[in-house]
Amino acid sequence: MDSKLLENSNPKLYLKSEDRQTTTDEEDDRLVDEIDAREVFDLIRGIRDPEHPFTLEQLNVVSEDKCEVDLQRNICSVWFTPTIDHCSMATLIGLSIQVKLIRSLPEHFKIDVYITPGSHATEEAVNKQLADKERVAAALENQHLLEVVNQCLVDSF
């Protein structure tokens, strides 16, 4: 790939976090294992960046401390940090996170995906678009876009 075509040709890489340690409670089938932030992070950490062979975790786009689960209201919130503040892939990355969570979490979960405050030039516009479920639904009926999203999600399972 010609590196001149890349928006961020030399991204900083971060260490992959340790696998989740299974607790004794989790091995106990009699106990309800509630969805928590770590579980949400595990679902999205393996998503591929649209322009690099790296995962969102390796690029520090997503992290466990920026995932939140509100079991009372069934809301899952994720804040992601684009690698550069004018990244044109921000909406696509956000959409990939959203699609992954829509497909993985129980369907009554409401999924909110935002850009980490202060990390992107058009933060507000991207957040508004990601929050518009009608536009998200229309986007996912677009065969070409869906293929691009699915490409980012390959190996994330």
Binding site: H108, K128, A131, E134, R135, A137, A138, E141
Partner: protein, 340 residues
Amino acid sequence: MSLDLVTELFGHNDRVWCVRWHPSGHTLASCGADKTIRLWAKEGNVWRTKYILSDGHQRTIRAIAWSPTGQYLASASFDATTSVWHRKEDSEEWECVISLEGHENEVKSVCWSQSGKYLSTCSRDKTVWIWEVIDGSGGSDGNEEFECASVLTDHSQDVKRVVWHPIQDVLASCGYDNTVKLYKDDGDDWICCATLSSHESTVWGIAFDSTGERLASSSSDKTIKIWQSVNNDITNWKCVSTLSGFHSRPVYDISWSHISDYILTAGGDDTIIVFKEDHIQSCGDFSDKTFQRFSVVLKHEKAHQMDVNSVDWNPKINGIFATSGDDCSVKIWKFTPQEL
């Protein structure tokens, strides 16, 4: 007061975007992501699917609207077209009589004017179209033609909804640019005659009261606003009330009953709310209606398992309304204001 679930209707196999009552109040239409329109009616005591309108659209059907006489049904689709359906004579069957093209991408809403003379559509392409209904044969027999009367480009973003005034040929639209706009025919062409700015995010729903002198709007900013036309002048509106703190997610639809005056809202928090204007004795400053108070008379959480996308008061039977949601279901409810 009480709220009873009359029936829950299953049949759609994807998100149900819109429900709308036939003007007679006896048939309900619903549509959604499964690309079908279902017509529901009572058989004896049981609500059933009377007819399924399919093959009219290639993608999601976002909205539907009945003509004022109830002889036509229009459907707006993400496939960029609007279909007009007509019931075959002496039959339960409906057929698509015309497909209106012109929008560049997803059509988000469709509405028929009360006079029956106009049909309006709006789209993500930021435009609002007004179609003139030209009766070719002198009767409502499915031979109407639709001619584009105007393309309005006043919105700066995705247009979410179009709604006609209940009495005059005045159109209202709203959308992603956070505004509500009104249009009238100035004799030469259709023009935007008012812009209502106050919402802080996408405006999803608009509804006129029975007089058309007030308008309610609902938004992603989680509020509902009531607008009053000054001296019944449709070019001059002011916001007389903001209802906030009631919904915790975007308010996707709003319906203002022309029978009882109750306002019904539904949102992404799975909740439906009924509001009513407080009748305070008009005195002094309050008599000019610069400020109006509305109270919640009923709040029902978990009305659906998921987001509630649409609400519609029955136009003939007091207290009956329909809702639809992302959980694939359509529900019919009975609201009783006072215990008898």
